[in-house]
Amino acid sequence: MSREKAFVHPYIPNSVPEVREAMLREIGARDVEELYAGIPDALRLKREMNLPKPLLSELELRRHVEGLLRKNRSCQDYLNFMGGGCWQHFVPAVCDEIASRAEFLTAYVGDTYSDLGKHQAIFEFQSLMGELLEMDVVSGPTYDWPSAASSALLMASRLTGRKRVLVPATTGPERLSHMRNFCRRAVSIEMVATEASSGLLDLQDLERKCGCETACVYLENPTYLGLIERQGAEVAETAHSRGALFVVGVDPSSLGVLAPPATYGADLVCGEVQPLGLHMHFGGGVCGFIASHDDPAIVGEYNTFLTSIAPTGREGEFGFGWSTMDRTSYVRRDASPDFMGSATNLWGITAGVYLALLGPRGMRDLGEGILQRRHYAMERLGAIKGLRTPVFSATHFKEFVVTFEGKAVQDVNKALLERGIFGGIDLGGWFPELGNSALYCVTEVHTQGNIDHLADAVREVLR
């Protein structure tokens, strides 16, 4: 085939015909088809795949995909008040800069001597999270909070040899759905009620349900409905008095102002890293973690990569490597009670950058700025006729429930959408006991003007 007629593709250097011929000569094959001789005829696809016509030039391709994506209206175009496990936060430019570095973006499972910087960046993610959490062991990045929570529940079950876990009735719906699927063969999940007035865990119900078969009590802080759970120490005491572990799922954006779970007795901590410098990416920006104290028995039950620092032969020099791989599914295969694989390391590296940029004061400013805006938003919305907020008496962090009296949440949201606003998440399907309610989220990205605009729009919609 002449070079002019040949299909030479920019991503495929050896698509040049002369090169292919030289290589075939070297192999001693007539054509590439000969190399497929090991695949029986009956298994072969005997036609060209029926795929869309390609856009071979980069410019045409770019126009096409950009054209599709531009049909979207993002949270930059509209004013967004949805959270619920994927939250809109400020992403510093340096986070984007590092996340797009080719060296990190295109690395994979290279080891100590070729990918040292990657290993150090992951170790620093673990270390920075360790400071935020006041815990000595932090996993490498996991898929997300739901999977981290499910794995933590199974860890607790193995560590205690018990098969029942207690979770709050207000556990995030995506997380609960994940837990129900992930844990069903290993443990049973029982719900602990929350108090109708405060929205916090019902300690009496916990006392009743927590027994000598309980592997762990799981708590979320802030709760899915946005409340700051102040009873951590009591929950820990109840759990520990029955020989159960205490597992806490946490939103780390709160930890500049809220006490880390280790200080109120958590044995295992898990949560969602996405608020720390990661875009939402339509839900693709999530990234989880698991943390604990440095107890070899607990470390032995992690299902994730754990990167450890290690000395070299030179004084003062250190390197990094994967610790205790024998505990993982890579080595144990079906003897492993859980699994690991490619998860979200680039997001973990990026979250490390975020924590380094914010530092202790930045994390406090973040928490305070969120609390101020959330508080203001509740004041403004709470003054509107036809809705009720606060619904719960406990202190909120960045999310809060709004109960609408006359108009259905769907209709409110539809009307808000017409005004360029994404209203709160409709809770009707997940929490029917809350009636006609929505979960609103306010973060440091919102200005007073944004919140006033929301309040004015809601008032207009409910009029």
Binding site: Y11, I12, P13, N14, S15, M23, I27, V32, E34, G38, L51, P52, E58, L69, N72, R73, C75, G85, C86, P92, V94, T106, Y108, G110, D115, L116, G117, Q120, A121, E131, W145, S177, I228, P260, H279, H281, G283, G284, G285, D294, F305, S308, A310, P311, G313, G319, S323, Y330, F339, G341, L346, I349, G352, L357, L358, G362, T395, I425, T447, I451
Partner: protein, 518 residues
């Protein structure tokens, strides 16, 4: 022409401290917008409103750094990492380190994707849903399966999803208590054993016959009324395609089981052979391997799961549907296994994979397969000529996209084994290669995958480095045994990684152990 070899290479060695050692109290890396007087007047002291028992008492001991310092530190760390963009990443066999086109990075950086919330009203996300819908159609054609989900966040999670679907299928037929066993092969990925085990199955692992093929007789012996399903890779880790795969599938079907095809790495068979023709009920593709989405230092990844129509009712929620006018998510699926990951999966990987396929078309995908198979066979010919290199199971017919090699002959003759070569090769600017999944059935293993990204010259350079290291092993083995010599650091004390007294997953643990604290 003599192949290149980078004898003068030296890795970047910034000797960069841990970030927690850097900075000065008071420095700031980024400032957040204050709430403003209008808000603070209304809300007062919000920190005081936090119940005392849950207020943070001691600020986190995070470093305090200016912005240029943070940037410099992480840029230096990036320079001490050898991403696939920078080297001939033939090394990470089974990982399909192919070129991740830069234009696709521009596409997924658009705010119309990065700033989307997963629960946005359907009318505002029709663009991205259309991309997902179009890519589902593409994968249906590539595999012959009928429905796909993009929810799994990686290959292992995709395999796990398939295990859950098999479990749900047998439960729906009232056979959950009977069908408790999954069969896999030792040359399928460890996740093909671990994920079904996590889903509650007992796993039976088949070993190959003497020629390296999955053993049909062993399969027959393993099959029973307890068989729930089969999880198998093809071609396997060794690069050997199992020509009797249809018989495997038919036997499992006849016994009442389902068959899941691990297509994490499908590079060598795009447009050549599909899951459908081999009779599989389900499969998964790693969009970060075959479909070019970058590996991200190990994620965010994507394991796209495809199933035949009879199994679609068990897929995770939500599924993506099209009503003739618009795309929408369907959460109302009573038989769903539920969520395997939050939200809709790693959607940017789907956008990149779509753009990649659209840049190639059917003819282009076939060119990818042909070139990766051509490259691999060319490389095998060259590698086999290196003293000390063996190809595992040489009797098996031509390999497809990757090969498991062995340095066993070299080790016997010189004492230099695969771990030593692996440390030495980084001195020539190459990524350390992947040896093998566990257990090491092939002694002194290493697995190479010269996919379509690499030119003939690239392959020649890589082979030349391997040949050179083999020469060194024969003439001056101490060079190889003492490697690396031109890496970022010297050799670490690996025993520290597994010693509870010395391991440290965080800097705080390291400081505590160094100072002798408990």
């Amino acid at each position: 022409m003599k192949p290149r070899r980078k004898d003068g290479y030296h890795a970047v060695a910034w000797q960069e401290p841990i970030i927690l050692e850097l900075g000065t109290p008071g420095e700031r890396g980024v400032l957040l917008p204050p709430a403003g007087d209008g808000i603070t007047r209304v809300v007062g002291d919000v920190l005081g409103s936090i119940p005392a028992e849950i207020r943070r008492r001691n600020p986190p001991r995070l470093p305090e750094l200016s912005q240029p310092q943070v940037l410099r530190h992480y840029l230096r760390l990036s320079q001490m990492s050898l991403g696939a963009d920078l080297n001939l990443d033939i090394s990470q066999g089974t990982c399909t380190m192919k070129y991740s086109p830069k234009v696709n990075e521009r596409l997924v950086s658009m705010p119309e994707l990065t700033e989307l919330h997963p629960y946005q009203d359907g009318s505002t996300v029709q663009g991205v849903l259309e991309v997902m819908g179009r890519f589902e159609s593409i994968l249906k054609e590539v595999s012959g399966m009928d429905r796909f989900t993009f929810q799994p966040g990686g290959g292992a999670q995709g395999i796990y999803t398939n295990a859950c679907i098999i479990r749900a299928y047998h439960e729906s037929r009232g056979q959950a208590n009977q069908r408790t066993e999954i069969i896999t092969t030792i040359f399928s990925h460890p996740a093909d054993a671990a994920c079904p085990a996590t889903a509650g199955f007992k796993v039976i692992t088949l070993y190959p016959d003497g020629r390296g093929y999955p053993d049909l007789e062993a399969l027959k012996a393993a099959i029973s009324e307890r068989t729930a399903g089969l999880f198998i890779t093809n071609p396997e880790d060794t690069g050997i395609f199992n020509p009797r795969i249809r018989e495997f599938v038919d036997l499992v079907h006849a016994a009442g089981g389902l068959c899941a095809y691990d297509q994490a790495n499908a590079n060598g068979i795009l447009g050549v052979a599909r899951a459908r023709e081999a009779g599989f009920d389900m499969c998964h593709f790693n969009l970060h391997k075959t479909f070019s989405s970058p590996h991200g230092s190990s994620g965010p990844a994507s394991g796209a799961v495809g199933v035949i129509s009879e199994l679609a009712r068990f897929l995770p929620v939500p599924t993506l549907e099209f009503d003739g006018d618009k795309h929408y998510f369907d959460y109302d699926r009573p038989e769903t296994i539920g969520k395997v990951r939050g939200f809709h999966g790693n959607v940017p990987a789907v956008v990149r994979a779509y753009a990649w396929v659209m840049s190639l078309g059917a003819q282009g995908l076939r060119l990818v397969a042909d070139t990766s198979v051509l490259n691999n066979n060319y490389m095998a010919k060259k590698m086999a000529a290196i003293p000390g290199v063996a190809i595992a199971y040489p009797e098996a017919r031509a390999r497809l996209d990757q090969i498991r090699y062995s340095w066993e002959p070299l080790k016997r003759k010189t004492g230099v084994g695969t771990e030593d070569v692996r440390r030495r090769m980084v001195d020539f600017g190459l990524q350390s290669y992947f040896e093998s999944h566990h257990p090491w059935v092939v002694p002194e293993p290493f697995t190479l995958e010269p996919d379509e990204t690499y030119s003939k010259d690239d392959i020649d350079e890589y082979v030349e480095v391997m040949r050179h290291i083999s020469d060194e092993a024969h003439s001056s083995p101490e060079i190889v045994l003492g490697a690396p010599h031109q890496s970022t650091i010297s050799r670490i004390d690996e025993s520290a990684l597994d010693d509870p007294k010395r391991w440290a997953m965080t800097w705080r643990a390291h400081l505590r152990k160094r100072s002798g604290g408990a």
